[in-house]
């Protein structure tokens, strides 16, 4: 055992010396404050807007930006609760309108005033929140390929026709915000009784209910389905990034739902002013352009998309009003959805 203890001590000492040596340079840079930003993974990934915004911000802020990622907003909130208060969290990016009430109930937030910003008229309603500022938005729509030969204007009822049987990829509303948007959309335009009946039919009709948007979209891209619930801007992605104009988003006869993404500063932030500066950057025309081009979502500021390919995105004539459902309402809908799913599976 003597050998073991000497060996372990030697290893610890060696690592300690190596660590001190390695960090002499790092300690100098650590004098700068670190702005810790919680965001979902597609925002912080190298193809998302996060790295570009970080580089731009670090050029002027005399600080270091650190991203902490979560796979979705639910995980983000969970991590924020466990880790945020102990280690510090200065900014949270990526809640949508369904998360806001939960976030407000479970944590306290710093009031933000962005009332002077010239918001796009479509999302004015979403800009009235005291604690969260909208930074991008998108219209949900079914996306298909022109080569499939479907009409580009359909109603929700058309989706139940036999030609679409097992050809539509949807998302599970319990794990995906897009999936939840679909359920709320149906209930909003059809009413509760007819809406749940429609969802029951759709469960037989849909190919699958994937846990996330990306999984469902993967099914569509690999031609396992003909149609997927996605965003109106999705075809533009294929057009710009893949030079493929075969993709098209459907215009629905019913008013279409809107997803708005928000940013907020927790009240326990450590570098609150820096966090607010980062939000200012996100809300500047330059920041909005980066978010728009990397996230393939629409900017919240007026005029940012003018002269860009995003101007060509066809916004449906009728959009659903943005609503902020309560926690109980969302829980009730999800419970009922799960119940229907179980009944169908039996």
């Amino acid at each position: 055992m003597k050998h073991f203890f000497i060996f372990i001590t030697a290893v610890f000492l060696f690592l300690f010396v190596a660590h001190i040596n390695k960090n002499q340079n790092f300690l100098a840079s650590e004098q700068k404050p670190t702005v810790r930003i919680f965001a979902y993974s597609s925002f912080t990934s190298k193809w998302g807007p996060g790295p570009q915004l970080k580089n731009l911000f670090e050029q002027t802020c005399e600080c270091v930006v650190e991203f902490i990622e979560g796979s979705d907003s639910g995980i983000l909130l969970q991590r924020l609760k466990v880790e945020g208060q102990k280690l510090g969290a200065d900014l949270v990016i990526g809640f949508d309108q369904f998360d806001l009430q939960k976030a407000t109930v479970e944590l306290s937030w710093r009031a933000l005033d962005f009332s002077k910003i010239d918001f796009d008229s479509q999302i004015l309603l979403a800009s009235k929140n005291e604690y969260f500022v909208p930074y991008d938005w998108g219209v949900l729509s079914f996306v298909t390929k022109k080569s499939k030969g479907f009409s580009t204007t359909l109603s929700l009822d058309d989706l139940l026709k036999s030609q679409f049987a097992s050809k539509i990829a949807l998302q599970d509303p319990r794990t995906s915000s897009v999936g939840l948007q679909f359920v709320m959309w149906v209930l909003k335009v059809k009413g509760e009784t007819e809406g749940y009946e429609y969802l029951k039919q759709m469960m037989k009709q849909a190919h699958s209910f994937s846990p996330s948007w990306s999984t469902a979209y993967g099914l569509f891209k690999s031609d396992q389905v003909d149609m997927v619930l996605s965003y109106a801007a999705s075809p533009l992605y294929h057009s710009i990034e893949e030079k493929n104009d075969d993709f098209v988003s459907l215009e629905m006869i019913e008013p279409q739902p809107v997803q708005v993404e928000f940013v907020g500063i927790p009240s326990f932030c450590k570098n609150c002013e820096k966090a607010e500066e980062f939000v200012n950057l996100m809300m500047s025309p330059e920041g909005q352009k980066i978010i728009m081009e990397k996230n393939y979502m629409l900017p919240v500021l007026k005029n940012v998309k003018i002269g860009t390919p995003f101007e060509t995105i066809k916004i449906p004539f009728r959009l659903l009003d943005i609503e902020f459902p309560s926690l109980t309402e969302v829980d009730g809908v999800l419970t009922r959805w799960s119940q229907i799913r179980r009944e169908i599976s039996l």
Binding site: H3, F7, I8, F12, A18, H19, K22, V82, E83, L87
Partner: protein, 160 residues
């Protein structure tokens, strides 16, 4: 010592295959150590992130969760340093075949901890690794193609 090293093949040749496995596992740990040390494992709270992300769904006993949540998230630097030092100790020990038995037991404990802290996708690999460490400690894998044989001849005892 060099004579003993080669002599070990003659007298404990049945352990040669397991020694190759031991060196391979040691090399794996060395790679992991280099990756973490040259990255930001000791500088940024990666280990605290790992705890926060995976502990909710972990099957760890409540008292382990409590300790990890209360102390390790806050003192992540010390925790990360200890985890990394153990990885380096395992790497050196397995490659040289030195104090393999006690290090194998230490590796068992650290792998159990990592099992609690890992996402479900990587748990199968960790379970296999756990069984491998246990087997190394059980047979005394350092006695063949390792320095342990030299000390075993001179000192004897269960730790070689």
């Amino acid at each position: 010592m060099l004579v003993a090293f080669f002599e070990s093949i003659k007298y404990s040749g049945h352990l040669v295959p397991i020694s190759f496995l031991r060196i391979f596992v040691g090399y794996y740990y060395l790679q992991e150590f280099i990756l973490k040390f040259s990255g930001d494992f000791l500088i940024r709270p990666r280990v605290a992130e790992m705890i926060s992300q995976n502990l909710v769904a972990s099957q760890a006993p409540e008292w382990v969760k409590w300790i990890l949540n209360t102390y390790m998230v806050v003192h992540w630097q010390g925790f990360a340093f200890t985890l990394l030092a153990i990885e380096l100790a395992i790497a050196i020990s397995y490659i040289l075949g030195y104090v393999v038995r006690p290090i194998g037991l230490l590796a068992v404990l650290s792998t159990i901890l990592l099992l609690y802290l890992s996402p479900s996708g990587s748990q199968d690999f960790l379970k296999i690794l756990l069984a491998t460490h246990f087997a190394f400690a059980w047979v005394g894998a350092g006695r063949c193609l390792g320095l342990d044989y030299y000390f075993f001849k001179r000192v004897r005892g269960i730790w070689w």
